[in-house]
């Protein structure tokens, strides 16, 4: 219909019958355009002929068909965006501390089911009794001989008892037997009070020559630990 309207307006073809209101309006606009084009006769021939301009306008009336694009190609941008998002996520991930755990060969044995106990060794230095298969299931291998847990875990704290305080050492005989009892009580979780113990950081002099700083330990404070103030 559009082509016939153009032919009717510009080529003198008969007017199509039964035109709708929009088509009639379009035909009227095209005729007005033809009149405007006729007014362009004043344009110098060296610049643009009315015939050239008319033909250019007529050519634009018939648009070439757009090439058909596959639907999946519209999502090609998603792949590089996802890759960039992944890189950004990796680079900006929170730097949580992943503890490097090392335990002694003579510590508690490994359960037969292969799941280490809470106090079971995660790595064995030298020729320890733990089975290599069990160690491999609990840890990730490392080239430096240190095994890391598969999931990041919070730093564990040791319970600070009154035996750790120098004030008690002044009052009591800090013999090896006393220290043995203190360590044994620390290792027995059933003797710890049921109430929640606050965590603290104990800073002990002297300074470590490697870093120039005092050594800090994260501990849980029992009720009998003495503070000064």
């Amino acid at each position: 219909v559009s082509d016939r309207l153009f032919e009717s307006a510009f080529d003198g073809a008969p007017e199509p019958e039964r035109l709708s209101a929009p088509e009639a309006a379009e035909l009227k606009a095209l005729r007005a355009l033809k009149a405007d084009l006729a007014a362009l006769r004043e344009v110098p021939e060296c610049q643009l002929t009315t015939e050239h301009l008319r033909r250019a306008i007529l050519d634009q009336g018939v648009r070439p068909a757009a090439p058909r694009v596959p639907a999946w190609s519209r999502w090609l941008w998603a792949a590089p965006v996802a890759a960039v998002a992944a890189v950004a996520l990796v680079l900006n991930r929170p730097r949580d501390v992943v503890p490097t755990v090392r335990e002694l060969a003579s510590a508690a044995p490994v359960e037969s089911a292969g799941v280490p106990k809470t106090s079971a060794p995660l790595i064995v230095d030298g020729s320890g009794p733990a089975e290599p298969a069990t160690v491999a299931s609990a840890t990730q291998p490392s080239t430096d001989g240190v095994a890391r847990p598969e999931r990041p875990r919070r730093r564990t704290t040791r319970r600070l008892a009154v035996q750790d305080g120098p004030l008690l050492a002044m009052r009591e005989d800090a013999s090896a037997a006393t220290r043995t009892m203190g360590a044994a009580s620390e290792a027995a979780p059933e003797e710890e009070p049921a109430i929640e113990q606050p965590e603290a950081v104990v800073v002990t002099e002297p300074a470590d020559p490697a870093t120039g700083t005092a050594a800090a330990q994260e501990v849980t404070i029992s009720a009998d630990v003495v503070f000064g103030g």
Binding site: L76, R95, V98, R102, Q163, L167, T180, A214, I221, A223
Partner: protein
């Protein structure tokens, strides 16, 4: 493709902005930082805290002869002499007798950030990037048993001489000084600790031996190449700087002269009352259980330590305590003992 390119641009811009902010912060504070040298070797860093030539350093940075050379980034050399020491924090006041820097800019002690913040640590080996974790941790200094609030810092470096490193936020304000690094548990003889020197020095709670064999032992923490360290809270550092700037050059830490522990029923029970101290003068005795301080209930020894730490010397603290079955009250004027050793 355009969106991926835009994402890359924003990503690169974010990193570049972060690096630029840190570099800008370091540029600002670099004018106030000197590298301490002794016998031609870098031994630590000090920061200018007063334009009269007063510098702050950590005890670990000062050689035994207490005379050290400070070299600024601009190449200016200043002879520094130790003038005062705060035994509680280990911070040292250094004085430059012939201080002739043009337009000196002392550092400013800021407030700890509320969120994890990128920081730059001024160490003897140069600036080190790190992260400051907010939230005061309960800290106890040995052997004084004094309570101090600590903040955790994670430095992007392996074990390095970070002792006494000063921490700056991206605005260039000082928010800490490194005094301790996380150590491992005591190890059994034959066990190999990753940082054995630290593990040995940390064994105050029980010397490494057979008694520790039942303990689950942890050596190092964190991924390789990261150091977990602790800094005194800015409230402590500000108190030290204020004392060092005063004419007496003395730092006044609050103290009433008591040692205390928790009780099973709540409260802080006095284990020792030093003679002649404010607590002694106020009538407190060994065995008294403090149950309220300045209207705040005292549930544990840490609660009482926090209240005492928040006081300034010369202020008073109102105590309610139990002696036997009797409840009493006392008003104690907080003293200014530099140390409880």
């Amino acid at each position: 493709m355009w969106s991926s390119a835009v994402s890359l641009v924003f990503l690169a811009a974010g990193f570049q902005q972060q690096a630029a902010q840190t570099e800008s912060a370091w540029t600002r504070v670099n004018r106030s930082v000197v590298r301490l040298e002794s016998a031609g070797q870098a031994v630590g860093v000090a920061v200018l805290i007063d334009s009269r030539g007063l510098f702050l350093a950590h005890r670990s940075s000062i050689p035994p002869q207490e005379l050290v050379v400070g070299r600024s980034s601009a190449g200016q050399v200043t002879v520094l002499m130790a003038e005062a020491v705060d035994e509680v924090t280990g911070l040292v006041l250094l004085h430059a007798p012939a201080f002739v820097w043009p337009d000196p800019v002392p550092v400013r002690v800021g407030t700890p950030p509320a969120n994890p913040t990128r920081i730059v640590a001024a160490t003897s080996v140069g600036p080190v990037m790190g992260e400051f974790l907010p939230g005061d941790k309960v800290g106890q200094l040995r052997p004084s048993l004094r309570y101090v609030p600590l903040n955790e810092v994670r430095l992007e470096t392996m074990v390095a001489p970070v002792g006494g490193a000063f921490l700056f936020d991206q605005r260039g304000t000082m928010i800490g000084v490194l005094g301790a690094t996380l150590a491992g548990e005591p190890v059994q003889p034959g066990g190999q600790a990753l940082r054995s020197a630290k593990a040995e020095s940390a064994g105050s709670g029980g010397a490494p031996g057979a008694a520790d064999s039942a303990l689950a032992t942890q050596g190092n923490y964190g991924p390789q190449g990261m150091t977990v360290a602790f800094t005194f809270s800015t409230s402590v550092i500000g108190r030290v700087v204020e004392g060092f700037r005063s004419p007496s050059r003395q730092v006044k830490h609050p103290s009433i002269g008591v040692f205390f522990k928790s009780t099973a029923t709540g409260g802080a029970q006095l284990e020792a009352v030093l003679p002649g101290t404010p607590a002694d003068k106020a009538g407190l005795r060994v065995g008294d259980v403090v149950i309220e301080a300045d209207g705040r209930p005292i549930g544990s020894q840490i609660d009482f330590a926090v209240v005492l730490f928040g006081k300034n010397p010369g202020e008073t603290v109102s105590l309610r305590y139990r002696r036997g079955n009797e409840e009493r009250t006392a008003t104690v004027t907080v003293g200014a003992q530099p140390s409880l050793d």
